[in-house]
């Protein structure tokens, strides 16, 4: 019973939602739109559960002074401050408020810093991994260097080859790159269809547990 009911529900709802793509009738669309709204509401409601989980995992460690409790305390304080600031800022947050202050002076710099780490990590990953170990790797390396040089103004300004580099880069991006991406995309799309059907048809049951 614990398995059968979810399997039947998955089959019915899955089939109904696949139908949305093929059935344009407005009466059908009213129902699919309703389902989609339920999905949004469910996902939003899960945020409360997420909050509970955060507190359940971190608060006991702070109270018991377990290892790294200081980090968890900082996280819980930040959570509480942002939550209160968000609720008190009201629905329309254009004007100055604690929420806007938190956004401007903590979120913006922290967010930008994390993203900027990519520049450093890509340098170390490229240095470590980009080795011409064989012919294929050498070709890949050559293509990468051409694209990198041609992407910046200095590359375009090089004497003699400066005019050709962007064209060659565009060829690399538009032809071999797109061909490989389309192949990955088509394979992944078919894999996605197969996975979706496995779940809808009830062949895949590993996520459901025992009866």
């Amino acid at each position: 019973m614990k398995r059968t009911v979810p399997l039947i529900l998955t089959f019915l709802v899955g089939l109904f939602m696949v139908g949305e793509y093929f059935i344009p009738h407005y009466r059908y669309r009213i129902w699919t739109a309703e389902f989609l709204e339920w999905g949004v509401i469910l996902a939003a409601a899960a945020f409360v559960l997420g909050l509970i989980n955060l507190i359940q995992v971190n608060l006991p460690k702070v109270l018991k002074r377990e290892r790294d409790w200081g980090y968890k305390l900082v996280m819980l304080i930040a959570l509480a401050v942002t939550l209160v600031a968000g609720f008190t800022a009201g629905e329309h947050r254009d004007g100055p408020s604690v929420y806007k202050w938190v956004y401007d002076y903590t979120f913006v710099p922290l967010n930008a810093t994390m993203f900027a780490l990519l520049a450093f990590y890509i340098a170390s990953a490229a240095f470590r991994a980009f080795k011409a170990r064989n012919l294929e790797a050498a070709l890949l390396l050559g293509a990468a260097i051409i694209v990198m040089v041609a992407r910046v103004p200095a590359g375009e300004s090089l004497p003699v080859i400066g005019d050709y580099l962007p064209r060659f880069m565009n060829w690399i991006m538009d032809v071999p790159n797109i061909a490989a991406r389309r192949a990955i995309f088509i394979g992944a799309a078919l894999g996605a269809v197969a996975t979706g059907l496995r779940v809808i048809l009830g062949l895949e049951r590993s996520h459901l547990g025992a009866d």
Binding site: Y21, F22, I23, P24, H25, Y26, R27, Y28, I30, G39, A43, A46, F47, V48, L49, G50, L51, N53, L54, Q56, V57, R67, D68, Y71, M75, L110, N111, M114, F115, L117, L118, Y121, I122, A125, R128, A129, F130, I184, F185, I186, G187, A188, L190, G191, A192, V193, A194, T195, G196, L197, R198, V199, L201, L203, E204, S206, H207, L208, G209, A210
Partner: protein, 402 residues
């Protein structure tokens, strides 16, 4: 009546423009039943055009359906009702197109109870003072199937995958062996779990950062079911780091089920399935914290990843853990390939669950999508040749729009 006089005074005193000609209304093919296609020949001298609609008859009452547009506009897709739950579509609609000159006032912007009266007065003044086409009738028709070739082909493709899947499953049940090639990346998952057990450290599992409805997240949850079962069998620990709250809830159920299926329901610790943050980089920082502080022996990144992929994988590299990644997100594959020990590319992600389970029914489903892939490749080759010789037949056959 006063309003009518006021609007009439606002409208130009002389008829400067001529009416549009050839106004026709058609029901679009495979329509939702709420749309009508209108086309006309624009007059040379109209400054702008406004479309009137009635659901009662050619005598009105008329409402402003759309516009004013520039006088050169010659077609419009009219949505007869924006909210069919409140206002279901009528059986028929009538349209008139009014040509406006430069001095004509725009439709009134009154609110509340006055709005309907103001609109009626405006429309009456328009029809009295400006040239308009005769009323033409249109009938919205709602279809129960988008039967254009593109949609039918897509449907056939999905049905074929499903049909082939059931057929191969049946063959597997009858004892036919199904071959699946060796995939080192997936074999490494089991080795990684073994390594974690030996080292007495947990396995870290990250199911991407997308919502639950994304197919990569769904695939990741299915894989998590298999992996958590193996982790339980090895009597090891698994930490799942989630970016989306509802994904955590499902992961909690899935890991709990995995432990139960392995026969160790008491060994499961729900606090190891954690919601970190729904903000991408806060989640990344939190997960990096787990990597650096709890030092898991094996990191498994399977699902949909974005810019955080390299930050996670590089931090994992510093930790000297075994790293296995898999995503169908092409932009992130190079980062995973550079920083992880094994990377599952695109469709391989969707094969993991079948491969790990070794269930012949699931393995046979991979065969079904392979057959359809062969069909797609043949179509690609034929279509490329046809397009190279100037035939657009294949392009039209696969076009999906409506």
């Amino acid at each position: 009546m006063n309003l009518l006089i006021l609007f009439a005074a606002l409208l130009a005193p002389v008829l400067a423009a001529t009416p549009a000609t050839g106004l026709s209304v058609e029901t679009p093919a495979y329509s939702d039943g709420l749309t009508l296609s209108l086309s006309w020949t624009a007059p040379d001298d109209a400054h702008s055009l406004i479309l009137l609609r009635s659901d009662q008859g050619e005598a009105g009452p008329w409402h402003v359906a759309a516009g004013p547009w520039p006088g050169t506009k010659a077609e419009h897709q009219d949505k007869v009702t924006t909210d069919p739950t409140k206002t279901p579509p009528a059986a028929h609609y009538w349209y008139r197109l009014v040509s406006l000159d430069e001095d004509t006032a725009p439709p009134p912007e009154a609110d509340g109870d006055d709005a309907a009266a103001a609109e009626q007065a405006y429309v009456a003044a328009l029809l009295a003072g400006q040239p308009a086409t005769a009323a033409v009738q249109g009938t919205p028709v709602a279809s129960w199937l988008s039967a254009s070739p593109g949609y039918l082909l897509l449907l056939a493709l999905i049905v074929s995958v499903g049909g082939l899947m059931l057929w191969f499953t049946d063959r597997a049940r009858k004892g036919h062996e199904m071959f699946i090639r060796r995939m080192p990346g997936i074999d490494a998952i089991e080795e990684g779990i073994g390594r974690a057990t030996e080292m007495g450290k947990p396995v870290l599992y990250v199911p991407g950062i997308d919502e639950l409805q994304d197919i990569q997240t769904i695939a990741s949850m299915l894989i998590l079911g298999q992996i958590s079962r193996k982790v339980a069998e090895y009597q090891s620990d698994i930490v799942v780091s989630c970016c989306i709250p509802i994904v955590r809830e499902v992961a909690d159920e899935v890991v709990g089920s995995g432990y139960m299926l392995a026969g160790y329901p008491d060994a499961y610790n729900p606090k190891n399935v954690r919601f970190i943050s729904s903000e991408q980089f806060a989640f990344t920082a939190g997960t990096n914290g787990i990597i650096l502080r709890e030092k898991p022996a094996t990191h498994i990144f399977l699902g949909r990843f974005f810019a955080e992929s390299l930050i996670l994988a590089e931090t994992g590299y510093v930790n000297r853990s075994v790293q296995i990644a898999g995503t169908a997100e092409a932009t992130q594959l190079p980062f995973f390939v550079a920083a992880c020990d094994y990377t599952l590319i695109g469709e391989e992600l969707f094969a993991v669950s079948a491969y790990l389970s070794k269930d012949p029914r699931l393995v046979s489903s991979l065969k079904a999508s392979d057959y359809v892939k062969v069909f797609v490749v043949v179509m690609l080759v034929v279509g490329t040749i046809a397009a190279s010789f100037g035939s657009s037949f294949f392009i039209e056959l696969f076009t999906i729009s409506g």
